[in-house]
């Protein structure tokens, strides 16, 4: 009898908790944004916290459970109507959930000190209790007074255009909020975090789906007064023509996540799915053996009957294979949903205003890729927030909206997944990046002078290059962008960056749709066959003698193809096999993309094109140069997949 291993269950709990936290974050962020929370949302929040409490107690995380209990209690009062939702609650709840996460981490690693826990819990309870015990009006007034002294707070004279009517008052601003004399700018902000208020009594108004009231502020909401009656997400300030113009330019992009109900899904270890794939592979092989056997049969009647049935089985196997593949696929939403919270927190820390948008959340991606993708994306986003998007003051000076936009999109095109991260910040200072690269010895001056702007921009992916003057805890240590590049490459993808100084940067990541299946072309060199990924092939040709040029001591050959010089790589020398043809004009040249250039691969012949299930080779070996992976062919033998990215390193 094995010892009851609490850690195993804790691990399960942790995985579940992460998912629940994510769901809660999404709900709360949305509530914070829209300033509302319907009963259904409150119920689902309550259930989530309740689950956390119950499950944590069962894995003996008592402190966490106790804290979760307090939050649950608070939610319960909200749920049964003892409390009504106020705008500031979302912020407070986000804070509470953050505290919960922190406590969970500490308790799991056994580093939670009772004293720290008590203080944290007390502080949190005080804030929670504030809602239940004190009169709101008084509290808000007090809080409001304090708020004015807040670091982020700004006092501006009330707008002079009289948009808000004849009432004069005080307008505040906080980290997220934004207000300005120029009324036109208010409306530009799709995310619309601003907060206006007058201290003079005015009729209360309804605010729906518009203002993003920051947590502290929102306490003042009960006395927020402004003569704006029907505030709507879009129709705000309709009476000012210039705003409408700007609005029209904006494309509404979905910002809401709909947390999926998790009740009809199960958690499956990826290795189990891989096991299933292997089994199907075996089935395919057994099938092809049977087909082969059938073809040797003499009785024509039986032969054709059998073939027919075998075809049927073949179709079923294919369908089965596709179904299992689709199990691996999850919507991009899973990736996107991690960002709003991070962006909100980072923006707050940096005192910047960020409008995060995303599109294409239903595009599906291989689950195995998500882990490898999240880190690089996170890095690019943080970099974009830290270095890309300027401070509100700077942006204003540059004539931009104070709120920067960060846009993330996913789409499928040409059998590839394209993920774009776009910001409207300052762009990359190419001169500075180049100077830094020369200084660090990444390139020399001669190279620098020859580089196009696109190539210069790619320098940010060189190791050890950071142009940030100050190292912050968000970015700037110069490790990172090179890691982004290598992580993406590991997934079989590429990163491109387009930047225009003063107007922002766009990072485009292209990835294969799945890590597991590859469209490939079988090529033959002598007696050996290799598989070349279709995605790298540009064209193929049978070269004429005059297209081949020798360079230097006749050991390097180049193919001259329409004003381009493309180095020729003789695959047979790399793979050490005896070819049918030694003369380039007798065989075929396949022009492919290598890391930074085109190369022409010399092969004897190419065979058929089909899909292959990729299997890693490097579980046992260092990757052989020029070989990126392996696959099981239809007849059960192993085929090697050529990796054009590292083929040139051979020389």
């Amino acid at each position: 009898m094995a010892v009851f291993d609490i850690n195993k269950y804790r691990q399960m709990f942790l995985e579940e908790a992460e998912e629940i936290f994510e769901t809660i974050d999404i709900i709360l962020l949305e509530a914070e944004e829209t300033n509302s929370m319907d009963n259904e949302t409150i119920n689902s929040l309550f259930r989530s916290v309740h689950t956390l409490k119950g499950n944590s107690a069962s894995v003996e995380l008592s402190l966490f459970a106790a804290l979760a209990h307090e939050i649950e209690f608070f939610m319960d009062r909200l749920r049964i109507g003892q409390l009504s939702f106020e705008e500031s609650m979302a912020g407070l709840l986000i804070e509470s959930i953050d505290t919960l996460k922190e406590i969970l981490e500490l308790e799991l690693s056994d580093e939670l000190e009772q004293g720290y826990y008590d203080t944290t819990k007390r502080a949190l309870l005080q804030k929670l209790d504030a809602f239940s015990e004190e009169s709101h009006e008084i509290l808000t007034l007090i809080e409001h007074q304090e708020e004015e002294k807040d670091d982020f707070g700004l006092l501006l004279p009330f707008d002079e255009e009289g948009v808000f009517g004849p009432i004069s008052g005080i307008v505040e601003e906080d980290a997220f909020g934004f207000f300005d004399e120029e009324a036109s700018e208010i409306g530009d902000d799709g995310f619309g975090f601003f907060n206006e208020e007058t201290l003079i009594n005015s009729p209360k108004i309804e605010e729906d789906a518009f203002g993003f009231f920051d947590e502290a502020y929102v306490k003042a909401a009960s006395i927020v007064t402004a003569p704006l009656d029907e505030e709507e997400y879009f129709g705000f300030f309709d009476d000012i023509p210039k705003m409408i113009e700007k609005r029209d330019n904006e494309v509404k992009i979905s910002k809401k996540f709909k947390p999926e109900s998790s009740s009809n899904s199960i958690r499956v270890d990826l290795s189990k799915i891989d096991g299933l794939m292997n089994n199907i592979g075996e089935l395919v092989i057994a099938h092809s053996m049977l087909t082969q056997y059938t073809s040797t049969m003499e009785d024509q009647k039986i032969k054709s009957d059998l073939s027919e049935r075998l075809d049927l089985i073949d179709r079923h196997i294919r369908e089965l294979q596709e179904s299992v593949m689709s199990v691996r696929m999850v919507p991009m939403e899973t990736v996107f949903s991690k960002f709003p919270k991070v962006i909100r927190d980072t923006a707050k820390k940096l005192n910047k205003k960020i409008d995060f948008r995303h599109s294409g959340e239903s595009v599906e991606i291989d689950k195995a890729m998500i882990e490898g993708l999240t880190d690089p994306l996170m890095h690019i986003v943080r970099n974009g927030l830290d270095h890309g998007i300027e401070s509100p003051q700077k942006r204003k000076l540059a004539g931009k909206l104070e709120t920067g936009t960060l846009m993330m999109s996913a789409e499928q095109a040409n059998g590839q997944m394209l993920i774009k991260i776009q910001d409207d910040g300052g762009g990359i200072n190419l001169a500075r990046v180049t100077a830094k690269a020369v200084e660090n010895g990444v390139i020399d001056e001669h190279q620098a002078s020859q580089m196009s702007n696109d190539e210069k921009a790619m320098l940010i992916f060189a190791p050890g290059l950071s142009t940030a003057e100050a190292v912050t805890d968000i970015s700037g240590r110069g490790v990172g962008m090179d890691v982004v590049m290598s992580n993406i490459k590991k997934l079989g993808g590429t990163v491109k960056v387009d930047t225009e100084e003063g107007y922002g940067s766009t990072f485009t990541i292209s990835l294969p749709l799945t890590l597991a299946i590859l469209d490939g072309l079988t090529i033959r060199i002598g007696a050996e066959q290799f598989i070349l990924p279709l995605s790298v092939i540009i064209e193929s040709l049978n070269p004429e003698a005059e297209m081949i040029k020798q360079i230097g001591d006749n050991t390097s050959e180049v193919l001259m193809l329409r004003n381009e010089f493309i180095p020729v790589v003789r695959l047979h020398t790399i793979f050490n096999v005896k070819p049918d043809h030694e003369m380039l004009t007798d065989g075929l040249l396949i022009v492919v993309r290598s890391a930074t250039q085109k190369i022409a691969l010399f092969v004897d012949e190419f065979m058929n094109q089909q899909q292959f299930v990729i299997k890693p080779l490097d579980r046992n070996f260092r990757n052989a140069r020029g070989i990126g992976g392996a696959t099981v062919r239809g007849d059960g033998t192993i085929g090697l997949i050529i990796d054009t990215m590292n083929i040139m390193n051979k020389y």
Partner: protein, 166 residues
């Protein structure tokens, strides 16, 4: 919980010597299939095969331990498929599979320094049966990933690794 080591051995021959590996490491025994050679690999890595859907390397123990530097491969050549501690499938080429033996792993003779053939660090010990000696291989040590990578890097310069290190 202590790791229970199997005390059953699968014995096989490399040249004239009898060797043994623990039976719980063995997944199956198969005859020589079509092996896809890996370019640029060490001499003792014959290539890769498909072992139940996994891409498994085939290592010729005869070449690896310098029993036979240029062995023959026929469709009757035997491969023992083993699974390592870290769940990698690997095929081992041997001359012939002999028998099963029960041994008490606590009563092994320590492996002496055998000179040119196999370094003692790759052995679990020696076992005597009816005046016959069986050399018990430490398969996890031999097939250790780092070890294999280190060796495959060296092989190009030093063909007889063991002669050099033993």
């Amino acid at each position: 919980m202590a790791i229970i080591e199997s005390n059953q051995l699968l014995t096989f021959k490399l040249g004239s010597e009898t060797y043994g590996i623990q039976i719980n490491k063995v997944r199956e025994i198969l005859t020589y299939p079509i092996v896809t050679p890996i370019p640029d690999a060490s001499r003792w890595v014959k290539g890769v095969i498909n072992l139940r859907g996994e891409v498994a390397p085939v290592i010729d123990l005869r070449v690896r331990f310098n029993v036979d530097s240029d062995p023959l491969y026929t469709p009757r050549t035997i491969i023992i498929a083993v699974k390592t501690q870290d769940s990698r499938m690997i095929g081992l080429v041997v001359d012939e599979v002999s028998d099963m033996e029960n041994v008490d792993l606590d009563k092994l003779y320590p492996a002496p320094d055998m000179g040119a053939s196999i370094a003692p660090e790759y052995l679990k010990g020696l076992f005597k049966k009816d005046e016959k000696m069986i050399v018990i291989l430490d398969i996890d040590r031999i097939l250790d990933k780092d070890e294999m990578q280190r060796l495959s890097r060296q092989t190009h310069e030093v063909p007889h690794v063991y002669a050099a290190s033993a």
